[in-house]
C-alpha cells in the first residue's frame, strides 16, 4: 500500500479531516477512482484541481503515472507559472 498525504488543506473537506491514508492504487487513474469510491467527489476534485506528487516527482494530468506499493504520494495544489 502506498502512503498518501493531502497537503494544502483542500481535500480534507471531502475526507472529514483525514489527512493521511494508505491506498492500493497502482496508477494515478486508479488512485482517482479509489479516492472517488472512498470519498465521493474527491476523485473528481483531485483530477481537476490538484497535482499528484509520487516519490518526489510532481504529476499533472498524468493518469498512467505509476504508483509503487511503497510510494510516497502527496496531493498538492496544481502549479502554474508565469
Amino acid at each position: 500500500m502506498a502512503h498518501l498525504t493531502f497537503a494544502g488543506g483542500d481535500c480534507q473537506s471531502f475526507t472529514g479531516g483525514l489527512g493521511e491514508l494508505e491506498v492500493a492504487a497502482t496508477s494515478v487513474r486508479a488512485l482517482i477512482h479509489e479516492l472517488e469510491a472512498r470519498f465521493p467527489g474527491l476523485g473528481d476534485h483531485v483530477d481537476r484541481r490538484m497535482a499528484i506528487a509520487i516519490d518526489g516527482e510532481i504529476h499533472q494530468d498524468a493518469w498512467s503515472a505509476v504508483i509503487g506499493p511503497r510510494s510516497e504520494v502527496y496531493i498538492i495544489p496544481r502549479i502554474g507559472g508565469g
Binding site: 518526489g56 498538492i76 507559472g81 508565469g82
Partner: protein, 762 residues
C-alpha cells in the same frame, strides 16, 4: 562575466551543441525591426476597436445606451455585455493553471457590476481611431457607485464592501454562514509549530508588506481578429500561448474551438501577464458584428488600469531556533490581493515560502482575497517573490540575532536531497546547497564595503513544470531541418529547440531552423510559462528528432539492402553495422536527397505530456549604497547563482537570470500601484511607475550551477522564474544593513528610506 560550474571536463565533450552559444534564430529580425509584433499586423478593410472602461472602482451598471454611438458616421459595431453569453462557474484548463470561465468572461466585459476602475463596459469598431474614440464618448452608461476596497486586510474585514455575493471562503473546516471577500484559505502544516516556538531559544517575528506591481512588458496587448460570415475565426496576436487564446476566445464567445485559428505574433515581453485574454474576444465580437477585421491595441495606460498586475500582500513571519542555529519553528501567514476575481497566487506563495528549508515544525496559512483592482495575472514565479521577501527577511534577522553568517545559517538548515519539502514531496536531484556554495566562493563576497553600504543575501525556489507539448521536424531535400512548435518564444526557446534538435540529429545547429506555428498547423501545446518550454517542448523536439532518425535509418537500410537493425546513427549520418557490407556512411543530406525513392518526405511529429520537471533554486548576493540625504539606493554589485540542471544555451540562461534579478530589483526599490481615495490608479505610465532601466543597474553577474535533471535527456530544468524570487529580500536585506534599520515594507523608495534614517537618528 559569468562562470559555469560542474560541467564535466572531458577531452571530447559528450554534448557537441548543447551548452554552446549560437546566434539566436530570431536575432536579425529583432535588432533590425523586421520582427512583426502584435500591433504590426494589418488587413484590408480593417477597423479600429476601442474599449470604454469604468470610471468607478466599484459600481452597479444600471443601463448602457449605445444608440448615439451607433449613429455616429464611421462606427461599424458596438458591443456590450448583451453580446456575450453568461457562462457557468467552471474551472477550465485553458492555460496552464485552471481558470474560472465565468470570471474570465466577466473580466473581459463587465456584466452587472464594474469591479475596478478600468473594467471594460463596452467596445466599438470604427473606420478610424478618432471615430472610435468619439463613439466611446457617446456611449451612456448609468452607474450606481458602490463603496470600494483595495487594501487586502481592509477587504478581509467583516464589514468590508462585498464584491461578490457568491463567495463563501473555501478551504475552511466548515462553510461560512455568510459571503465575504476571502475566496480561499490555504493551509500547510507539519509538526507542532506553536510548541516549537514556545520552546525556541531565539525567536524573531516580523510583518512585511508589498504593493501590487505590474509585469511591465514593453509591448502592450494587441490583436487583429476576423470572423467570416460562416463563423470561421482568425486571430493574430501577441500572447504566451496561441492555444490558450484559441480556447478562451471560443469559450467566452460560445464558439467551437475548431472554428478559431490563432497565429502568434512575436511577443514583446509577457512575464506571465500574457497568459490570459483581454482584447481578443472583444475584437472577435466586433468583427462578428461589423463583418470586417478589427484591430485593437491597448495604450500603456490601459495596460496598467485593466490588465493583471501581481498581488499586493501582507506577509507575517515568526521563526524559532536553537542558539546553535538550528531552526525549529517557521510560522508564515500570507494575505494576497486577487483583484476583482478569485485566484491570487497565494497558493504558490504558500508552497514556495519554506521550500528552501528543512523545517521540522511549520505552519503556512494563505488567504486569497478579492479587491476592487484589476484581476491579478501570473507574474514570473507567481506568488513566490512575495512570500520569499517575508521569509528571507526574517531569516536575515534571525542570522543577525544569532550572530551567524546568513549563508551559513541557510546552509545549516537548507533543503537537500531526501528532505521532505514543506509543500509535500521529497526532494531529489536538487542543487540548492550548490548555489549557496557558489555564492560563498564568489569574489563578490570579499569586496569591501564602505560607509552607507550594505550586503544582502536571499534565496528562492520555483517548482518548474512540464505538461502538454507538440513538436514536429521536417527534413528538407538538402538535409536541413525545420523544427515546428506551438510555443511563443518569450525567452529564447527557438534557440534551445534548435540546439536540442541539432544535438539529437548530430548536425550543426545552423542546419536547423526553428519556427513557431499557428494553432491549425501544429498539435496542441500548453502556453509558454511555468519555466516549462525548454524542458517539456524540448522533450517533444528530442523525441521527434529520434523518430526522424529511426526513419532515416530505415531508409538507409533500404539503400544498403540490410535489415534496419543493422543501421546505426552517428554524427549526423547513418552507418552500416553489418560487417559484410563495406559502405560509406550516408549523411542526412544524402538520405534526404533520395527521400522520394525511399518512401517520400521525411518528417515526424510528437505530442506528449512531459513529467519530471526538476525544481530550481537560486541564491542572490547584493551590495547597495544608500544616500542618507536623498534616500536614493544604488545597486553596487549583484550576483545570481542558480541551479539550471543543464544550460542548453548558456547566454540565454544568463539573460534569464539577469532579467529576473532586474525585475525583482525594480519591485524592491520603486514599483508600486498608487491608488487615490476613489480607487483610481494615479501612476498608470512609465514616467510615474518607475521601472529600472539599464543605467540604474550594474552588470549583474551570474553563476550557472548544473545539477542535471535525470528526467530530461540533456538534463534541463526550468530557468526563467527562479531568478525573480530572491531579489526583493536580497535588496531589502542589503538596504537594512546599510542604514541599520530593518526595512519591512516595499518598495524601498527614497521617502521611506529617508523616514527610516530620520527615525533612526531620533
Amino acid at each position: 562575466m559569468s562562470e559555469v560550474l560542474d560541467r564535466p571536463q572531458t577531452e571530447e565533450p559528450a554534448l557537441k551543441v548543447v551548452g554552446t552559444r549560437p546566434i539566436r534564430p530570431d536575432g536579425f529580425d529583432k535588432v533590425t525591426g523586421r520582427a512583426a509584433f502584435g500591433a504590426d499586423f494589418v488587413m484590408p478593410g480593417m477597423l479600429t476597436g476601442r474599449v470604454k472602461r469604468s470610471p468607478h472602482a466599484h459600481a452597479r451598471i444600471l443601463s448602457i445606451d449605445t444608440r448615439a454611438a451607433r449613429a455616429l458616421a464611421g462606427v461599424k459595431a458596438v458591443v456590450t455585455r448583451d453580446d456575450f453569453p453568461d457562462l457557468a462557474s467552471e474551472m477550465h484548463e485553458g492555460g496552464e493553471a485552471a481558470s474560472n470561465l465565468r470570471d474570465l468572461a466577466m473580466n473581459v466585459m463587465a456584466r452587472d457590476k464594474a469591479l475596478y476602475h478600468g473594467h471594460a463596459v463596452a467596445a466599438v469598431a470604427a473606420v478610424s481611431p478618432a471615430i472610435a474614440e468619439a463613439a466611446l464618448e457617446l456611449i451612456e452608461v448609468t452607474y450606481e457607485p458602490l463603496p470600494h476596497v483595495i487594501d487586502v486586510e481592509a477587504a478581509m474585514a467583516p464589514d468590508a464592501p462585498l464584491l461578490h455575493a457568491h463567495i463563501f471562503t473555501e478551504g475552511l473546516e466548515a462553510r461560512p454562514a455568510s459571503p465575504s471577500n476571502i475566496a480561499r484559505r490555504h493551509l500547510f502544516a507539519r509538526g507542532d509549530v506553536d510548541a516549537a516556538l514556545a520552546e525556541a531559544e531565539v525567536r524573531v517575528e516580523g510583518r512585511y508588506t508589498t504593493k501590487a506591481t505590474h509585469q511591465g512588458y514593453i509591448e502592450p496587448h494587441a490583436c487583429v481578429a476576423s470572423m467570416s460570415p460562416d463563423g470561421q475565426c482568425q486571430v493574430w496576436c501577441s500572447s504566451q500561448g496561441a492555444f490558450m487564446v484559441r480556447t478562451y476566445c471560443a469559450k467566452v464567445l460560445g464558439l467551437e474551438i475548431s472554428d478559431v485559428r490563432v497565429t502568434p505574433a512575436e511577443i514583446g515581453g509577457g512575464f506571465g501577464g500574457k497568459t490570459t485574454v483581454y482584447l481578443e474576444p472583444l475584437a472577435l465580437a466586433l468583427s462578428r458584428a461589423s463583418g470586417a477585421p478589427v484591430k485593437m491595441v491597448m495604450s500603456r495606460e490601459e495596460v496598467f488600469r485593466a490588465t493583471g498586475p501581481t498581488s499586493g500582500a501582507v506577509v507575517e513571519v515568526r521563526l524559532g531556533a536553537r542558539r546553535d542555529g538550528t531552526i525549529t519553528a517557521m510560522d508564515v501567514e500570507l494575505k494576497y490581493q486577487a483583484g476583482a476575481f478569485p485566484g491570487s497566487p497565494v497558493g504558490a506563495g504558500c508552497m514556495t515560502a519554506l521550500a528552501c528549508y528543512d523545517a521540522p515544525n511549520f505552519r503556512i496559512v494563505g488567504w486569497d482575497v478579492v479587491t476592487n483592482s484589476p484581476k491579478v495575472a501570473a507574474y514570473r514565479a507567481p506568488g513566490a517573490p512575495i512570500s520569499a521577501f517575508g521569509v528571507e527577511s526574517a531569516i536575515d534577522e534571525l542570522a543577525a540575532r544569532l550572530g551567524m553568517d546568513p549563508i551559513a545559517l541557510r546552509q545549516q538548515n537548507g533543503a537537500r536531497n531526501g528532505v521532505k519539502a514543506a509543500y509535500g514531496p521529497t526532494f531529489q536531484n536538487i542543487g540548492y546547497l550548490e548555489t549557496l556554495a557558489a555564492l560563498k566562493a564568489h569574489p563578490h563576497m570579499q569586496a569591501p564595503l564602505g560607509p552607507n553600504q550594505g550586503r544582502g543575501v536571499a534565496v528562492g525556489f520555483w517548482f518548474n513544470v512540464g505538461g502538454e507539448s507538440t513538436a514536429a521536424i521536417h527534413i528538407g531535400e538538402d538535409g536541413s531541418a525545420t523544427v515546428v512548435t506551438g510555443n511563443p518564444d518569450i525567452g529564447g526557446s527557438r534557440a534551445s529547440m534548435a540546439i536540442m534538435a541539432a544535438e539529437t540529429l548530430g548536425v550543426p545547429v545552423e542546419q536547423v531552423r526553428p519556427i513557431v506555428a499557428d494553432t491549425a498547423s501544429i498539435g496542441y501545446s500548453m502556453l509558454t510559462g511555468g519555466s516549462r518550454t525548454t524542458f517539456a517542448t524540448g522533450l517533444a523536439v528530442i523525441r521527434a528528432a529520434e523518430k526522424v532518425i529511426d526513419e532515416l535509418k530505415r531508409r538507409a537500410a533500404v539503400l544498403w539492402s540490410v535489415d534496419a537493425d543493422k543501421v546505426g546513427w552517428k554524427s549526423g549520418a547513418a552507418v552500416c553495422l553489418d560487417p559484410a557490407k563495406e559502405v560509406a556512411p550516408l549523411t542526412l543530406a544524402r538520405l534526404a536527397g533520395q527521400s522520394a525513392r525511399t518512401g517520400g518526405p521525411i518528417s515526424a511529429e510528437v505530442s506528449l505530456n512531459a513529467q519530471g520537471a526538476g525544481p530550481g533554486f537560486g541564491a542572490h548576493l547584493c551590495d547597495v549604497e544608500v544616500d542618507p540625504e536623498t534616500g536614493q539606493v544604488t545597486i553596487l554589485r549583484y550576483v545570481v547563482a542558480q541551479d539550471v540542471g543543464r544550460a542548453i544555451h548558456p547566454a540565454y540562461v544568463e539573460g534569464q537570470m539577469q532579467g529576473g534579478a532586474a525585475q525583482g530589483i525594480g519591485w524592491a526599490l520603486n514599483e508600486e500601484y498608487v491608488f487615490d481615495a476613489d480607487g483610481v490608479m494615479e501612476n498608470p505610465g512609465f514616467l510615474d511607475y518607475r521601472m529600472p532601466v539599464a543605467s540604474d543597474l550594474p552588470m549583474i553577474d551570474t553563476v550557472i550551477v548544473e545539477v542535471p535533471n535525470p528526467r530530461h535527456p540533456y538534463g534541463a530544468k526550468g530557468v526563467g522564474e527562479v531568478p525573480i524570487v530572491p531579489p526583493l529580500a536580497a535588496v531589502a536585506n542589503a538596504v537594512s544593513a546599510a542604514i541599520g534599520v530593518r526595512m519591512r515594507h516595499l518598495p524601498l523608495s527614497p521617502p521611506k528610506i529617508r523616514a527610516a534614517v530620520d527615525a533612526r537618528a531620533g
